[in-house]
Protein backbone atom coordinates (compact mmCIF):
# COMPACT_ATOMS: atom_id res chain seq x y z
CA UNK A 1 0.00 0.00 0.00
CA UNK A 2 1.14 3.53 -0.63
CA UNK A 3 2.28 5.39 2.45
CA UNK A 4 0.05 8.04 3.85
CA UNK A 5 0.79 11.28 2.09
CA UNK A 6 1.46 14.44 4.04
CA UNK A 7 -0.59 15.21 7.11
CA UNK A 8 -3.43 17.67 6.85
CA UNK A 9 -3.12 21.25 7.88
CA UNK A 10 -4.58 21.54 11.38
CA UNK A 11 -7.41 23.82 10.26
CA UNK A 12 -8.76 21.08 8.02
CA UNK A 13 -9.12 18.31 10.52
CA UNK A 14 -12.46 17.01 11.64
CA UNK A 15 -14.89 18.46 14.15
CA UNK A 16 -13.97 21.99 13.40
CA UNK A 17 -15.57 24.40 15.86
CA UNK A 18 -18.26 25.62 13.49
CA UNK A 19 -21.21 26.87 15.52
CA UNK A 20 -24.78 25.68 15.12
CA UNK A 21 -25.76 29.13 13.89
CA UNK A 22 -23.01 29.17 11.29
CA UNK A 23 -24.02 25.71 10.10
CA UNK A 24 -27.65 26.79 9.75
CA UNK A 25 -26.53 29.72 7.62
CA UNK A 26 -24.34 27.39 5.63
CA UNK A 27 -27.33 25.17 4.81
CA UNK A 28 -29.28 28.19 3.55
CA UNK A 29 -26.24 29.27 1.53
CA UNK A 30 -26.18 25.80 -0.08
CA UNK A 31 -29.81 26.34 -1.15
CA UNK A 32 -29.02 29.75 -2.64
CA UNK A 33 -25.98 28.42 -4.46
CA UNK A 34 -28.04 25.52 -5.79
CA UNK A 35 -30.58 27.93 -7.25
CA UNK A 36 -27.80 30.08 -8.70
CA UNK A 37 -26.03 27.17 -10.44
CA UNK A 38 -29.23 25.75 -11.86
CA UNK A 39 -30.16 29.17 -13.20
CA UNK A 40 -27.05 28.97 -15.35
CA UNK A 41 -27.52 25.35 -16.36
CA UNK A 42 -31.23 25.53 -17.18
CA UNK A 43 -32.27 22.34 -15.37
CA UNK A 44 -31.52 20.78 -12.03
CA UNK A 45 -32.52 18.89 -8.91
CA UNK A 46 -33.78 21.41 -6.37
CA UNK A 47 -36.02 19.71 -3.87
CA UNK A 48 -33.91 16.66 -3.10
CA UNK A 49 -30.86 18.90 -2.64
CA UNK A 50 -32.79 21.10 -0.24
CA UNK A 51 -33.78 18.12 1.89
CA UNK A 52 -30.09 17.34 2.44
CA UNK A 53 -28.74 20.89 2.89
CA UNK A 54 -28.34 20.72 6.67
CA UNK A 55 -26.74 17.26 6.46
CA UNK A 56 -24.20 18.42 3.85
CA UNK A 57 -23.42 21.56 5.87
CA UNK A 58 -22.66 19.66 9.07
CA UNK A 59 -20.66 16.96 7.30
CA UNK A 60 -18.40 19.31 5.36
CA UNK A 61 -18.07 22.17 7.83
CA UNK A 62 -17.73 20.13 10.98
CA UNK A 63 -17.57 16.35 10.77
CA UNK A 64 -15.47 15.07 7.90
CA UNK A 65 -11.72 14.88 8.38
CA UNK A 66 -10.41 16.33 5.15
CA UNK A 67 -7.52 18.20 3.63
CA UNK A 68 -8.69 20.09 0.55
CA UNK A 69 -5.09 21.00 -0.27
CA UNK A 70 -4.38 17.29 -0.55
CA UNK A 71 -7.55 15.62 -1.86
CA UNK A 72 -5.91 12.18 -2.04
CA UNK A 73 -4.69 12.27 1.57
CA UNK A 74 -4.93 8.60 2.50
CA UNK A 75 -6.30 9.11 6.02
CA UNK A 76 -9.13 11.41 5.01
CA UNK A 77 -12.71 10.49 5.72
CA UNK A 78 -14.50 9.44 2.54
CA UNK A 79 -17.81 10.89 1.44
CA UNK A 80 -19.94 9.13 -1.14
CA UNK A 81 -23.02 10.72 -2.59
CA UNK A 82 -25.26 7.69 -3.12
CA UNK A 83 -28.05 10.02 -4.22
CA UNK A 84 -25.73 11.45 -6.85
CA UNK A 85 -28.36 13.73 -8.35
CA UNK A 86 -27.77 16.33 -5.64
CA UNK A 87 -24.17 17.01 -6.64
CA UNK A 88 -25.31 20.57 -7.33
CA UNK A 89 -25.47 21.02 -3.55
CA UNK A 90 -21.96 19.67 -3.12
CA UNK A 91 -20.20 21.82 -5.70
CA UNK A 92 -20.37 25.15 -3.84
CA UNK A 93 -19.08 23.46 -0.70
CA UNK A 94 -16.09 21.89 -2.45
CA UNK A 95 -15.29 25.18 -4.19
CA UNK A 96 -15.58 27.07 -0.90
CA UNK A 97 -13.22 24.61 0.80
CA UNK A 98 -10.71 25.11 -1.98
CA UNK A 99 -10.86 21.84 -3.92
CA UNK A 100 -11.25 23.74 -7.19
CA UNK A 101 -11.70 27.35 -8.34
CA UNK A 102 -15.05 28.96 -7.65
CA UNK A 103 -15.19 29.91 -11.31
CA UNK A 104 -16.01 26.27 -12.09
CA UNK A 105 -19.45 26.81 -10.55
CA UNK A 106 -20.39 29.14 -13.37
CA UNK A 107 -20.14 26.30 -15.88
CA UNK A 108 -22.19 23.75 -13.94
CA UNK A 109 -24.11 21.53 -16.32
CA UNK A 110 -22.50 22.85 -19.48
CA UNK A 111 -20.90 20.61 -22.04
CA UNK A 112 -17.33 19.55 -21.10
CA UNK A 113 -17.58 21.27 -17.70
CA UNK A 114 -16.26 19.21 -14.76
CA UNK A 115 -19.26 19.95 -12.55
CA UNK A 116 -22.13 17.75 -13.67
CA UNK A 117 -25.56 16.77 -12.41
CA UNK A 118 -24.05 13.60 -10.91
CA UNK A 119 -20.45 13.63 -9.62
CA UNK A 120 -17.50 12.10 -11.46
CA UNK A 121 -14.41 11.27 -9.42
CA UNK A 122 -12.20 11.56 -12.47
CA UNK A 123 -13.20 15.12 -13.15
CA UNK A 124 -13.51 16.79 -9.76
CA UNK A 125 -10.99 16.91 -6.89
CA UNK A 126 -12.71 16.06 -3.62
CA UNK A 127 -15.08 13.49 -5.13
CA UNK A 128 -14.12 10.17 -3.57
CA UNK A 129 -16.29 8.12 -5.90
CA UNK A 130 -18.55 8.67 -8.89
CA UNK A 131 -22.26 8.12 -8.52
CA UNK A 132 -25.43 8.22 -10.50
CA UNK A 133 -26.63 4.65 -10.43
CA UNK A 134 -28.57 4.28 -7.20
CA UNK A 135 -27.70 1.41 -4.90
CA UNK A 136 -23.99 1.14 -5.65
CA UNK A 137 -22.30 3.53 -3.27
CA UNK A 138 -22.97 1.75 0.00
CA UNK A 139 -21.07 -1.21 -1.49
CA UNK A 140 -18.25 1.05 -2.63
CA UNK A 141 -18.11 2.69 0.80
CA UNK A 142 -17.96 -0.75 2.41
CA UNK A 143 -15.07 -1.59 0.07
CA UNK A 144 -13.27 1.55 1.24
CA UNK A 145 -13.87 0.57 4.86
CA UNK A 146 -12.47 -2.90 4.17
CA UNK A 147 -9.43 -1.22 2.63
CA UNK A 148 -9.04 0.89 5.75
CA UNK A 149 -9.21 -2.22 7.92
CA UNK A 150 -6.59 -3.96 5.76
CA UNK A 151 -4.13 -1.15 6.30
CA UNK A 152 -5.20 -0.48 9.90
CA UNK A 153 -6.30 3.04 9.01
CA UNK A 154 -8.55 5.28 11.07
CA UNK A 155 -10.66 6.88 8.41
CA UNK A 156 -14.41 6.47 7.98
CA UNK A 157 -16.70 6.38 4.97
CA UNK A 158 -19.95 8.36 5.00
CA UNK A 159 -22.54 7.44 2.38
CA UNK A 160 -25.52 9.72 1.82
CA UNK A 161 -28.45 7.67 0.54
CA UNK A 162 -31.86 8.64 -0.69
CA UNK A 163 -34.79 6.82 0.87
CA UNK A 164 -35.97 5.73 -2.57
CA UNK A 165 -32.50 4.28 -3.03
CA UNK A 166 -33.39 1.75 -0.33
CA UNK A 167 -35.49 -0.01 -2.97
CA UNK A 168 -32.27 -1.18 -4.62
CA UNK A 169 -31.37 -4.79 -3.78
CA UNK A 170 -27.62 -4.29 -3.91
CA UNK A 171 -27.86 -1.83 -1.06
CA UNK A 172 -29.01 -4.63 1.21
CA UNK A 173 -26.19 -6.87 0.02
CA UNK A 174 -23.87 -4.10 1.19
CA UNK A 175 -25.76 -3.70 4.47
CA UNK A 176 -25.37 -7.43 5.13
CA UNK A 177 -21.66 -7.34 4.34
CA UNK A 178 -20.97 -4.26 6.47
CA UNK A 179 -22.22 -5.85 9.67
CA UNK A 180 -20.68 -9.23 8.80
CA UNK A 181 -17.25 -7.58 8.49
CA UNK A 182 -17.88 -5.37 11.55
CA UNK A 183 -17.39 -2.12 9.66
CA UNK A 184 -17.92 0.41 12.42
CA UNK A 185 -16.10 2.84 10.16
CA UNK A 186 -19.07 2.89 7.74
CA UNK A 187 -21.79 5.46 8.31
CA UNK A 188 -24.89 5.58 6.12
CA UNK A 189 -27.10 8.65 6.27
CA UNK A 190 -30.55 8.23 4.76
CA UNK A 191 -32.05 11.48 3.54
CA UNK A 192 -35.55 10.22 4.25
CA UNK A 193 -37.51 12.90 2.43
CA UNK A 194 -40.33 10.47 1.78
CA UNK A 195 -40.47 10.93 -1.93
CA UNK A 196 -39.26 9.03 -4.96
CA UNK A 197 -39.84 9.79 -8.61
CA UNK A 198 -43.33 8.32 -8.90
CA UNK A 199 -44.82 9.17 -5.55
CA UNK A 200 -44.38 8.97 -1.79
CA UNK A 201 -41.51 6.53 -1.34
CA UNK A 202 -43.42 3.96 0.64
CA UNK A 203 -46.44 4.13 -1.65
CA UNK A 204 -44.19 3.18 -4.54
CA UNK A 205 -42.55 0.42 -2.48
CA UNK A 206 -42.68 0.34 1.27
CA UNK A 207 -39.34 0.95 2.95
CA UNK A 208 -40.49 1.34 6.53
CA UNK A 209 -39.42 0.85 9.18
CA UNK A 210 -36.07 2.07 7.86
CA UNK A 211 -34.26 1.96 11.19
CA UNK A 212 -35.76 -1.43 12.03
CA UNK A 213 -34.68 -2.88 8.71
CA UNK A 214 -31.09 -1.75 9.18
CA UNK A 215 -31.13 -3.00 12.77
CA UNK A 216 -32.27 -6.38 11.48
CA UNK A 217 -29.20 -6.34 9.24
CA UNK A 218 -26.96 -5.77 12.26
CA UNK A 219 -26.58 -2.00 12.15
CA UNK A 220 -26.90 0.60 14.87
CA UNK A 221 -29.69 2.97 13.84
CA UNK A 222 -30.38 6.53 14.98
CA UNK A 223 -33.42 8.44 13.83
CA UNK A 224 -33.29 12.25 13.78
CA UNK A 225 -34.91 15.34 12.34
CA UNK A 226 -32.68 15.94 9.35
CA UNK A 227 -33.17 19.70 9.48
CA UNK A 228 -32.34 20.05 13.18
CA UNK A 229 -28.74 21.17 12.88
CA UNK A 230 -28.02 20.84 16.59
CA UNK A 231 -29.25 17.24 16.55
CA UNK A 232 -27.24 16.37 13.44
CA UNK A 233 -24.15 17.80 15.11
CA UNK A 234 -24.85 15.85 18.29
CA UNK A 235 -25.19 12.56 16.44
CA UNK A 236 -22.21 13.04 14.14
CA UNK A 237 -20.00 14.32 16.99
CA UNK A 238 -20.99 11.26 18.98
CA UNK A 239 -20.26 8.61 16.39
CA UNK A 240 -18.37 5.61 17.71
CA UNK A 241 -14.66 5.33 17.01
CA UNK A 242 -13.75 4.16 13.53
CA UNK A 243 -12.26 0.99 15.07
CA UNK A 244 -15.66 0.02 16.50
CA UNK A 245 -17.44 -2.94 15.03
CA UNK A 246 -21.03 -1.97 14.26
CA UNK A 247 -21.91 0.19 11.24
CA UNK A 248 -24.19 3.15 11.91
CA UNK A 249 -27.18 4.35 9.93
CA UNK A 250 -28.62 7.79 10.62
CA UNK A 251 -32.19 7.99 9.40
CA UNK A 252 -32.66 11.70 8.82
CA UNK A 253 -36.34 12.58 8.45
CA UNK A 254 -36.44 15.48 6.03
CA UNK A 255 -38.76 17.49 3.83
CA UNK A 256 -38.26 17.39 0.11
CA UNK A 257 -37.94 20.99 -1.01
CA UNK A 258 -37.22 22.15 2.57
CA UNK A 259 -36.81 25.87 2.91
CA UNK A 260 -38.91 27.05 -0.03
CA UNK A 261 -42.59 26.88 0.86
CA UNK A 262 -43.95 26.34 -2.64
CA UNK A 263 -41.51 23.46 -3.16
CA UNK A 264 -42.41 21.92 0.19
CA UNK A 265 -46.06 22.06 -0.95
CA UNK A 266 -45.43 20.15 -4.18
CA UNK A 267 -41.98 18.62 -3.82
CA UNK A 268 -42.14 16.24 -6.76
CA UNK A 269 -42.86 19.11 -9.16
CA UNK A 270 -39.47 20.46 -8.14
CA UNK A 271 -37.51 17.21 -8.17
CA UNK A 272 -36.14 18.16 -11.56
CA UNK A 273 -37.07 21.56 -12.79
CA UNK A 274 -36.21 25.17 -13.48
CA UNK A 275 -37.21 28.27 -11.57
CA UNK A 276 -38.43 31.14 -13.71
CA UNK A 277 -37.36 34.66 -12.67
CA UNK A 278 -40.37 35.41 -10.47
CA UNK A 279 -40.27 32.04 -8.69
CA UNK A 280 -36.53 32.32 -8.28
CA UNK A 281 -36.93 35.66 -6.58
CA UNK A 282 -39.64 34.32 -4.26
CA UNK A 283 -37.48 31.33 -3.34
CA UNK A 284 -34.34 33.37 -2.73
CA UNK A 285 -36.17 35.95 -0.63
CA UNK A 286 -37.64 33.24 1.54
CA UNK A 287 -34.24 31.63 2.06
CA UNK A 288 -32.47 34.94 2.72
CA UNK A 289 -35.09 35.92 5.28
CA UNK A 290 -33.78 33.14 7.50
CA UNK A 291 -30.16 34.21 7.16
CA UNK A 292 -30.44 37.57 8.87
Amino acid sequence: MPDSTKSPSPAKTRQRPCSIQELRRRAEWIRLETIRQIAGAGLGHYSSTFSAAEILAVLYYRTLRLDPANPQWLDRDRFLLGKGHIAVGLWPILADLGYFPRAWLEDFGKIDAPLTDHPNMRDVPGIDFSSGSLGHNLSVGAGMCLASRLRSGGERAFVLLGDGELHEGQLWEAAMLASHYKLGNLIAIVDANGSSANGPTSDVMNIEPIAGRFEAFGWRAVEIDGHDVARIVEVLDGLPDSKSDVPTVIVARTLKGKGVSFMEASPRDWHLGFLGPADRQRAEEEIRSRMT
Binding site: S139, A142, G143, L146, A147, A157
Partner: protein, 327 residues
Protein backbone atom coordinates in the same frame (compact mmCIF):
# COMPACT_ATOMS: atom_id res chain seq x y z
CA UNK B 1 -26.26 -42.80 -18.75
CA UNK B 2 -23.09 -44.78 -19.14
CA UNK B 3 -20.35 -43.83 -16.77
CA UNK B 4 -17.66 -43.60 -19.44
CA UNK B 5 -19.50 -40.77 -21.14
CA UNK B 6 -19.31 -38.57 -18.09
CA UNK B 7 -16.29 -36.45 -17.43
CA UNK B 8 -17.65 -33.64 -15.35
CA UNK B 9 -16.25 -30.36 -14.32
CA UNK B 10 -16.48 -30.19 -10.58
CA UNK B 11 -17.87 -26.73 -9.98
CA UNK B 12 -15.77 -26.28 -6.89
CA UNK B 13 -12.49 -27.31 -8.37
CA UNK B 14 -10.70 -25.95 -11.33
CA UNK B 15 -10.29 -28.97 -13.47
CA UNK B 16 -8.96 -27.41 -16.60
CA UNK B 17 -5.64 -28.38 -17.94
CA UNK B 18 -5.16 -25.93 -15.15
CA UNK B 19 -4.39 -28.51 -12.51
CA UNK B 20 -0.69 -28.55 -11.96
CA UNK B 21 1.62 -29.30 -9.15
CA UNK B 22 1.35 -26.74 -6.37
CA UNK B 23 -2.30 -25.95 -6.88
CA UNK B 24 -4.36 -24.34 -9.57
CA UNK B 25 -2.90 -21.51 -11.56
CA UNK B 26 -5.17 -18.75 -10.28
CA UNK B 27 -4.33 -19.37 -6.64
CA UNK B 28 -0.65 -19.82 -7.39
CA UNK B 29 -0.48 -16.60 -9.35
CA UNK B 30 -2.28 -14.69 -6.62
CA UNK B 31 0.20 -16.02 -4.08
CA UNK B 32 3.08 -15.01 -6.31
CA UNK B 33 1.66 -11.51 -6.72
CA UNK B 34 0.87 -11.16 -3.02
CA UNK B 35 4.47 -11.97 -2.15
CA UNK B 36 5.59 -9.24 -4.52
CA UNK B 37 3.19 -6.52 -3.39
CA UNK B 38 0.92 -5.88 -0.43
CA UNK B 39 -2.08 -4.51 -2.29
CA UNK B 40 -3.43 -7.79 -3.72
CA UNK B 41 -6.92 -8.74 -2.49
CA UNK B 42 -9.21 -11.54 -3.62
CA UNK B 43 -12.96 -11.04 -3.55
CA UNK B 44 -15.28 -13.91 -4.37
CA UNK B 45 -19.01 -14.51 -3.94
CA UNK B 46 -19.12 -17.83 -2.07
CA UNK B 47 -16.84 -19.45 -4.60
CA UNK B 48 -13.33 -18.82 -3.34
CA UNK B 49 -12.86 -21.80 -1.06
CA UNK B 50 -12.26 -24.35 -3.79
CA UNK B 51 -9.06 -25.67 -5.36
CA UNK B 52 -8.86 -22.73 -7.79
CA UNK B 53 -8.07 -20.17 -5.10
CA UNK B 54 -7.95 -22.02 -1.76
CA UNK B 55 -4.16 -22.02 -1.77
CA UNK B 56 -4.17 -18.22 -1.79
CA UNK B 57 -6.76 -18.01 0.99
CA UNK B 58 -4.65 -20.33 3.14
CA UNK B 59 -1.50 -18.36 2.44
CA UNK B 60 -3.07 -14.90 2.82
CA UNK B 61 -6.27 -15.30 4.84
CA UNK B 62 -6.53 -11.58 5.53
CA UNK B 63 -6.46 -10.82 1.81
CA UNK B 64 -9.62 -12.73 1.04
CA UNK B 65 -13.08 -11.20 1.24
CA UNK B 66 -16.01 -13.53 0.79
CA UNK B 67 -19.04 -11.50 -0.23
CA UNK B 68 -21.52 -14.35 -0.02
CA UNK B 69 -23.80 -15.07 -2.94
CA UNK B 70 -23.88 -11.45 -4.02
CA UNK B 71 -22.03 -10.93 -7.29
CA UNK B 72 -23.01 -7.32 -7.92
CA UNK B 73 -21.88 -6.34 -4.44
CA UNK B 74 -18.53 -8.09 -5.07
CA UNK B 75 -17.74 -5.86 -8.01
CA UNK B 76 -18.67 -2.61 -6.26
CA UNK B 77 -16.75 -3.67 -3.14
CA UNK B 78 -13.74 -4.26 -5.39
CA UNK B 79 -14.18 -0.80 -6.84
CA UNK B 80 -14.11 0.69 -3.34
CA UNK B 81 -10.92 -1.20 -2.51
CA UNK B 82 -9.33 -0.14 -5.79
CA UNK B 83 -10.25 3.50 -5.14
CA UNK B 84 -8.41 3.11 -1.83
CA UNK B 85 -5.18 1.91 -3.42
CA UNK B 86 -5.65 -1.86 -3.61
CA UNK B 87 -5.45 -4.16 -6.64
CA UNK B 88 -8.47 -6.41 -6.18
CA UNK B 89 -9.27 -9.56 -8.10
CA UNK B 90 -12.91 -10.58 -8.34
CA UNK B 91 -13.29 -14.32 -8.91
CA UNK B 92 -16.72 -15.33 -10.12
CA UNK B 93 -18.66 -17.90 -12.06
CA UNK B 94 -18.60 -16.94 -15.74
CA UNK B 95 -22.32 -17.41 -16.27
CA UNK B 96 -23.06 -14.79 -13.63
CA UNK B 97 -20.15 -12.36 -13.54
CA UNK B 98 -20.66 -10.36 -16.73
CA UNK B 99 -24.43 -10.82 -17.07
CA UNK B 100 -25.31 -10.09 -13.46
CA UNK B 101 -22.69 -7.40 -12.80
CA UNK B 102 -22.65 -5.61 -16.14
CA UNK B 103 -23.69 -2.32 -14.65
CA UNK B 104 -21.31 -2.50 -11.70
CA UNK B 105 -18.47 -3.36 -14.08
CA UNK B 106 -19.37 -0.48 -16.38
CA UNK B 107 -20.23 2.22 -13.85
CA UNK B 108 -18.01 1.48 -10.86
CA UNK B 109 -14.95 -0.17 -12.41
CA UNK B 110 -14.56 0.70 -16.09
CA UNK B 111 -15.83 4.29 -16.14
CA UNK B 112 -13.62 5.15 -13.17
CA UNK B 113 -10.68 3.27 -14.74
CA UNK B 114 -9.98 1.42 -11.53
CA UNK B 115 -7.42 -1.39 -11.38
CA UNK B 116 -9.83 -4.27 -10.80
CA UNK B 117 -9.20 -7.64 -12.46
CA UNK B 118 -12.36 -9.67 -13.00
CA UNK B 119 -11.83 -13.40 -13.46
CA UNK B 120 -14.58 -15.38 -15.11
CA UNK B 121 -14.16 -19.00 -14.04
CA UNK B 122 -15.88 -21.96 -15.67
CA UNK B 123 -16.92 -19.85 -18.62
CA UNK B 124 -18.20 -21.04 -21.98
CA UNK B 125 -19.61 -24.55 -21.64
CA UNK B 126 -17.53 -25.56 -18.62
CA UNK B 127 -20.63 -25.75 -16.45
CA UNK B 128 -22.79 -27.04 -19.27
CA UNK B 129 -24.02 -29.96 -17.23
CA UNK B 130 -25.76 -27.68 -14.76
CA UNK B 131 -28.28 -26.15 -17.10
CA UNK B 132 -28.79 -23.30 -19.51
CA UNK B 133 -28.43 -20.86 -16.61
CA UNK B 134 -24.78 -21.94 -16.32
CA UNK B 135 -23.80 -21.53 -19.97
CA UNK B 136 -21.61 -18.47 -20.47
CA UNK B 137 -21.67 -17.65 -24.16
CA UNK B 138 -22.27 -13.93 -24.24
CA UNK B 139 -19.76 -12.34 -21.86
CA UNK B 140 -17.67 -10.79 -24.63
CA UNK B 141 -20.72 -9.24 -26.23
CA UNK B 142 -21.95 -7.84 -22.92
CA UNK B 143 -18.62 -6.25 -22.06
CA UNK B 144 -17.10 -5.03 -25.27
CA UNK B 145 -19.20 -1.87 -25.45
CA UNK B 146 -17.76 -0.62 -22.17
CA UNK B 147 -15.04 2.00 -22.65
CA UNK B 148 -11.77 1.45 -20.73
CA UNK B 149 -12.42 -2.22 -19.95
CA UNK B 150 -9.89 -4.61 -21.44
CA UNK B 151 -11.16 -8.09 -22.22
CA UNK B 152 -8.96 -11.16 -22.51
CA UNK B 153 -9.42 -14.89 -22.78
CA UNK B 154 -6.74 -17.27 -21.56
CA UNK B 155 -5.88 -20.22 -23.78
CA UNK B 156 -4.14 -22.12 -21.00
CA UNK B 157 -2.56 -21.84 -17.55
CA UNK B 158 0.53 -20.03 -18.73
CA UNK B 159 -1.63 -17.49 -20.52
CA UNK B 160 -3.79 -17.09 -17.41
CA UNK B 161 -0.78 -16.33 -15.26
CA UNK B 162 0.58 -13.82 -17.77
CA UNK B 163 -2.78 -12.09 -18.04
CA UNK B 164 -3.25 -11.86 -14.28
CA UNK B 165 0.21 -10.34 -13.95
CA UNK B 166 -0.47 -7.96 -16.83
CA UNK B 167 -3.69 -6.80 -15.18
CA UNK B 168 -1.82 -5.79 -12.03
CA UNK B 169 1.09 -4.28 -13.92
CA UNK B 170 -1.14 -2.25 -16.22
CA UNK B 171 -3.29 -1.02 -13.33
CA UNK B 172 -6.38 -0.85 -15.53
CA UNK B 173 -9.79 -2.54 -15.54
CA UNK B 174 -9.44 -6.05 -16.99
CA UNK B 175 -11.81 -8.97 -17.51
CA UNK B 176 -10.18 -12.36 -18.05
CA UNK B 177 -11.98 -15.49 -19.08
CA UNK B 178 -10.05 -18.29 -17.35
CA UNK B 179 -8.92 -21.30 -19.42
CA UNK B 180 -11.46 -23.91 -20.40
CA UNK B 181 -11.51 -27.36 -18.84
CA UNK B 182 -11.10 -28.77 -22.34
CA UNK B 183 -8.01 -26.75 -23.25
CA UNK B 184 -4.63 -28.35 -23.85
CA UNK B 185 -1.52 -26.34 -23.15
CA UNK B 186 -0.53 -23.86 -25.81
CA UNK B 187 2.31 -22.00 -24.11
CA UNK B 188 5.43 -22.85 -22.20
CA UNK B 189 6.83 -20.44 -19.66
CA UNK B 190 5.43 -16.94 -19.47
CA UNK B 191 4.02 -15.65 -22.73
CA UNK B 192 4.84 -11.92 -22.79
CA UNK B 193 1.45 -10.53 -23.71
CA UNK B 194 1.04 -6.86 -24.51
CA UNK B 195 -2.37 -5.35 -23.82
CA UNK B 196 -4.31 -5.31 -27.06
CA UNK B 197 -1.85 -7.37 -29.08
CA UNK B 198 -2.58 -10.72 -30.66
CA UNK B 199 0.02 -13.43 -30.25
CA UNK B 200 1.35 -15.41 -33.21
CA UNK B 201 1.59 -18.98 -31.94
CA UNK B 202 2.44 -20.80 -35.18
CA UNK B 203 3.47 -19.36 -38.53
CA UNK B 204 2.26 -21.08 -41.69
CA UNK B 205 1.53 -20.11 -45.27
CA UNK B 206 -1.74 -21.72 -46.40
CA UNK B 207 -4.45 -20.67 -43.97
CA UNK B 208 -4.81 -18.69 -40.74
CA UNK B 209 -6.56 -20.07 -37.68
CA UNK B 210 -7.57 -17.34 -35.25
CA UNK B 211 -8.70 -18.43 -31.82
CA UNK B 212 -9.39 -17.07 -28.39
CA UNK B 213 -9.49 -19.06 -25.15
CA UNK B 214 -10.35 -22.68 -25.87
CA UNK B 215 -10.42 -21.72 -29.55
CA UNK B 216 -6.67 -21.11 -29.51
CA UNK B 217 -5.96 -24.50 -27.97
CA UNK B 218 -8.14 -26.18 -30.61
CA UNK B 219 -6.42 -24.18 -33.37
CA UNK B 220 -2.99 -25.36 -32.26
CA UNK B 221 -4.19 -28.96 -32.37
CA UNK B 222 -5.83 -28.39 -35.73
CA UNK B 223 -2.64 -26.86 -37.12
CA UNK B 224 -0.75 -30.02 -36.14
CA UNK B 225 -3.37 -32.19 -37.84
CA UNK B 226 -3.32 -29.99 -40.95
CA UNK B 227 0.46 -30.25 -41.10
CA UNK B 228 0.10 -34.00 -41.47
CA UNK B 229 -2.11 -33.48 -44.50
CA UNK B 230 0.31 -31.02 -46.01
CA UNK B 231 -1.49 -27.80 -45.08
CA UNK B 232 0.61 -25.18 -43.33
CA UNK B 233 -1.45 -23.07 -40.91
CA UNK B 234 -0.75 -19.88 -39.04
CA UNK B 235 -2.27 -19.81 -35.56
CA UNK B 236 -3.12 -16.51 -33.93
CA UNK B 237 -4.15 -16.27 -30.29
CA UNK B 238 -6.51 -13.31 -30.01
CA UNK B 239 -5.75 -13.25 -26.33
CA UNK B 240 -7.22 -9.75 -26.03
CA UNK B 241 -10.68 -9.18 -27.46
CA UNK B 242 -10.40 -5.56 -26.37
CA UNK B 243 -8.35 -3.65 -27.25
CA UNK B 244 -8.63 -5.66 -30.44
CA UNK B 245 -5.60 -6.23 -32.65
CA UNK B 246 -7.09 -5.23 -35.97
CA UNK B 247 -3.62 -4.67 -37.43
CA UNK B 248 -2.55 -8.30 -37.18
CA UNK B 249 -5.91 -9.44 -38.49
CA UNK B 250 -5.89 -7.08 -41.47
CA UNK B 251 -2.29 -7.90 -42.29
CA UNK B 252 -3.18 -11.60 -42.56
CA UNK B 253 -6.32 -10.93 -44.57
CA UNK B 254 -4.41 -8.52 -46.77
CA UNK B 255 -1.85 -11.22 -47.48
CA UNK B 256 -4.66 -13.39 -48.78
CA UNK B 257 -5.03 -15.88 -45.96
CA UNK B 258 -8.37 -17.58 -45.57
CA UNK B 259 -9.42 -17.18 -41.93
CA UNK B 260 -10.98 -19.72 -39.57
CA UNK B 261 -12.23 -18.03 -36.40
CA UNK B 262 -12.63 -20.30 -33.37
CA UNK B 263 -14.30 -19.35 -30.10
CA UNK B 264 -16.28 -20.88 -27.24
CA UNK B 265 -18.81 -18.08 -27.51
CA UNK B 266 -21.88 -17.10 -29.46
CA UNK B 267 -20.40 -16.48 -32.92
CA UNK B 268 -22.95 -13.78 -33.67
CA UNK B 269 -21.60 -11.54 -30.91
CA UNK B 270 -18.00 -12.55 -30.23
CA UNK B 271 -14.66 -12.96 -31.97
CA UNK B 272 -16.08 -13.90 -35.37
CA UNK B 273 -18.24 -10.78 -35.29
CA UNK B 274 -15.27 -8.65 -34.27
CA UNK B 275 -13.24 -10.03 -37.14
CA UNK B 276 -15.98 -9.48 -39.70
CA UNK B 277 -16.67 -5.99 -38.41
CA UNK B 278 -13.01 -5.01 -38.43
CA UNK B 279 -12.41 -6.29 -41.95
CA UNK B 280 -15.61 -4.74 -43.23
CA UNK B 281 -14.83 -1.32 -41.79
CA UNK B 282 -11.46 -1.35 -43.47
CA UNK B 283 -12.87 -2.57 -46.74
CA UNK B 284 -10.82 -5.75 -46.74
CA UNK B 285 -12.42 -8.73 -48.43
CA UNK B 286 -11.53 -12.07 -46.86
CA UNK B 287 -12.63 -15.67 -46.92
CA UNK B 288 -13.97 -16.35 -43.46
CA UNK B 289 -15.29 -19.37 -41.56
CA UNK B 290 -16.53 -19.35 -37.97
CA UNK B 291 -16.33 -22.26 -35.55
CA UNK B 292 -18.18 -21.56 -32.35
CA UNK B 293 -21.56 -21.68 -30.73
CA UNK B 294 -24.94 -20.79 -32.17
CA UNK B 295 -27.20 -17.92 -31.17
CA UNK B 296 -29.75 -20.35 -29.83
CA UNK B 297 -30.77 -22.48 -26.84
CA UNK B 298 -28.04 -24.98 -26.16
CA UNK B 299 -28.38 -28.50 -24.86
CA UNK B 300 -27.39 -29.40 -21.33
CA UNK B 301 -24.61 -31.91 -20.90
CA UNK B 302 -21.00 -32.30 -19.83
CA UNK B 303 -18.69 -29.95 -21.73
CA UNK B 304 -17.13 -32.40 -24.17
CA UNK B 305 -20.52 -33.67 -25.29
CA UNK B 306 -21.62 -30.10 -25.93
CA UNK B 307 -18.44 -29.22 -27.78
CA UNK B 308 -18.98 -32.27 -30.00
CA UNK B 309 -22.66 -31.46 -30.49
CA UNK B 310 -21.96 -27.94 -31.70
CA UNK B 311 -18.84 -28.75 -33.66
CA UNK B 312 -16.35 -26.88 -31.55
CA UNK B 313 -13.77 -29.52 -32.40
CA UNK B 314 -10.38 -29.97 -33.98
CA UNK B 315 -12.03 -31.93 -36.78
CA UNK B 316 -14.37 -29.07 -37.65
CA UNK B 317 -11.50 -26.59 -37.77
CA UNK B 318 -9.43 -28.91 -39.95
CA UNK B 319 -12.31 -29.40 -42.36
CA UNK B 320 -12.99 -25.67 -42.70
CA UNK B 321 -9.29 -24.87 -43.03
CA UNK B 322 -8.89 -27.46 -45.76
CA UNK B 323 -11.83 -25.95 -47.58
CA UNK B 324 -10.31 -22.48 -47.41
CA UNK B 325 -6.76 -23.50 -48.29
CA UNK B 326 -7.88 -25.48 -51.33
CA UNK B 327 -9.73 -22.52 -52.82
Amino acid sequence: MSSESIEMVDPFSYTSAAEVEGGAIIGRTLIELAHERDDIVLIAPDIGRGPATMSFIEAFPDRYIDTGIAEANSVSIAAGLAASGYRPFVFGIGAFLAPKCAEQIRTDVAANRLPVTLISAWGGLDMGYFGASHHSLEDISILRGMPHLSIASAADNAAMRSLMRAGVADGLPLYIRAPSSAALDVYKGSPPFVRGAANVVVTGKDVALIGTGLGTSLCVQAAAALQESGVSATVIDMVYLKPFDGETLCRLAGEGYGLVIVEEHNTSAGLASLVAETLGRRGIAARLEAVGLPDDDLAVAVPQQLLDRYGLTVEAIVSKAQGLSSR
